[in-house]
Symmetry: none
Subunit: 401 residues, 2 copies
Amino acid sequence: MDLALARELSQEAETKIVLFVMDGLGGLPHPETGRTELEAAWTPHLDRLAKESICGLTVPVATGVTPGSGPGHLALFGYDPLVYNIGRGVLEAAGIDFDLQPTDVAARGNFCTIDGDGVITDRRAGRISSERCEELVAGLREISLGDGVQALVEPVREHRFVLVLRGEALSDEVTDTDPQKVGVKAPASRGVTEDGEATAALVNKWVSEAQAYLVDKAPANMLILRGFAKRPDWPQMADVFRMRPAAVAHYPMYRGLAKLVGMEALAVGPTLEDSFAVVRENWDRFDYFFVHYKHTDAAGEDGDYERKMEKIEEVDAAIVTLVEMEPDVLMVASDHSTPAAMAAHSWHTVPFMLRSKWARADDCGYFNERRLALGSLGTFPAKEAMPLAMAHAGRLRKYGA
Amino acid sequence: MDLALARELSQEAETKIVLFVMDGLGGLPHPETGRTELEAAWTPHLDRLAKESICGLTVPVATGVTPGSGPGHLALFGYDPLVYNIGRGVLEAAGIDFDLQPTDVAARGNFCTIDGDGVITDRRAGRISSERCEELVAGLREISLGDGVQALVEPVREHRFVLVLRGEALSDEVTDTDPQKVGVKAPASRGVTEDGEATAALVNKWVSEAQAYLVDKAPANMLILRGFAKRPDWPQMADVFRMRPAAVAHYPMYRGLAKLVGMEALAVGPTLEDSFAVVRENWDRFDYFFVHYKHTDAAGEDGDYERKMEKIEEVDAAIVTLVEMEPDVLMVASDHSTPAAMAAHSWHTVPFMLRSKWARADDCGYFNERRLALGSLGTFPAKEAMPLAMAHAGRLRKYGA
């Protein structure tokens, strides 16, 4: 279902939808046991939910495509990630509550380390502290570009910051200065189109002055920029789905993402208990809660099979709290797979279940990749999760007479 | 994934992909045993591969659609056959290494038999020998069309030949003179559009002179033409997927098809051992091998359930050779079903498995239609096989931030 049809069919209702995202949940078999992280984890509560749910495996973007976090989440929100494409700069800016203007161009920045020849040796400058990041950003704010263009800089955390160029006639049609690997120099930005050339020149001027400032600030003696983008003007969930949506996410990027589709990003602490408490406190104010759990992905990215298993078990133990709030629709889903065996995001299909009193529950029996594959949803596009939830929540009108 | 996205995400890698196509593999249950050809065949090696593979059933073109050999293969190469549509004439011409020019119009020809009233009694003229075909073609080459248009004729094999009209302003918007059945006369060609009318007139002039020449050449006393088409200008696999693709196919049509998407068609003998030897000899020169096995389809077309079963078992015994080359991705697939029970191509879904060390193997256990249906790939479009293979071969970049 595309958003135009969703807008046509959506209706208000007195029902609650919860989307619980275990980031990077999908895994791969351990070479010794042949079991995925999810198969190996002890998950009696998730398994019980599976017995009461319709089940399947989602394809976040398209078959074979490894999604970034943005596309993976947008799909779960009902937005086709091949249509609603987002620049990293915008995502980072939104994640720190930066109020991007329509003419602004934002980029994600990394402080990095270069050697005497200008070759990048560490793309994260040894993950400098957030405090050090703030000090360096303060210095970068002194750079003046002139020509009526401001260069706004905001720290994110550790080695990461956001650069926002503000002025008239700026373009985001420029290339990254982040080569996404070490062992090479940071390239100059270039205009992808003629429109972009003037902005690329401004970027290069700013980088050059920044480099002069950072020269004695090792390990953060250089910076790299990527994902230049303007704020997209997307349909908002409240309009499309006629609901009040909230995001319960601790990490900036996921908050930023949620805000781009019109969710209210609620303040929340770092733990799962914090997240569930925020849901409970705000139960009456919203119809839809996106609850984000980061640690499964982080463990997967670190290639830590055991920790990923433990993080899954942590969720299993806690999820009762969420179930007890009795949402009309509860989805346990994920934005992509992050198999510990690959220590990276991957293209593999992604566990999904949806529990509702109106669900025709499947016989999968267990919440893991191989059992969910037997569910009636089969392997299906993640963007269909939202219409499924809407339907089970009584929030979609009949189509046609 | 369409080819534009594939072009955006594809990256080079040091990996090998093998697509092994058992033509017309899908079958239907035998009325006595209730088992399909594949279920009845003894296939320990294929079954073992299935245990290490992700599994499913492919839909070559669209649900319910019976594919010709062209669409069935194009889908497996990653080309949506509803977008990349090919005329039979072009396929035949490419299959005999005929160097089609962009303005040429090619058609597939059959010598056929007509009775005294001009009614077709055998669409294949009793399958005359290839030698006889060559003699008749030599005669047809004497026909002159004038007006700066040449009529080039080339034998294919048995009753089949290719007609290529060469000149300026020719159109392929003309109808067939092959009624695709016996008991009727061959219709005249007509222009489908105004553009096509002049070309249709040339076709009819040529057919009329050909008939005069063939009048005393029974059983080949007439000919019929179909699939008028110009050479398509399609994206090439090397550009789209950033790989070096090779075709290992003995039959002309499949070689021709492979060449249209930019594969190098390697010289190969008729046996499975020949095919696998060619793969091995060329292992370092290419990244992707399409290996074609014809006999399963031929047995199915003949309605010979037993022979089809035997041909499947022949593959099972030989496939070890291919596995031992250790391709990073091995797909065992097919272009369509050819159930012996129907003695024809059919719309039924098609067996598929993909083996890779990065595959999250399914629990199907056996390589047959009913077990593969339980795989995590479910029933999916055949055109997704290529992105899947690319992903498992580490040849697709991440999408989005």
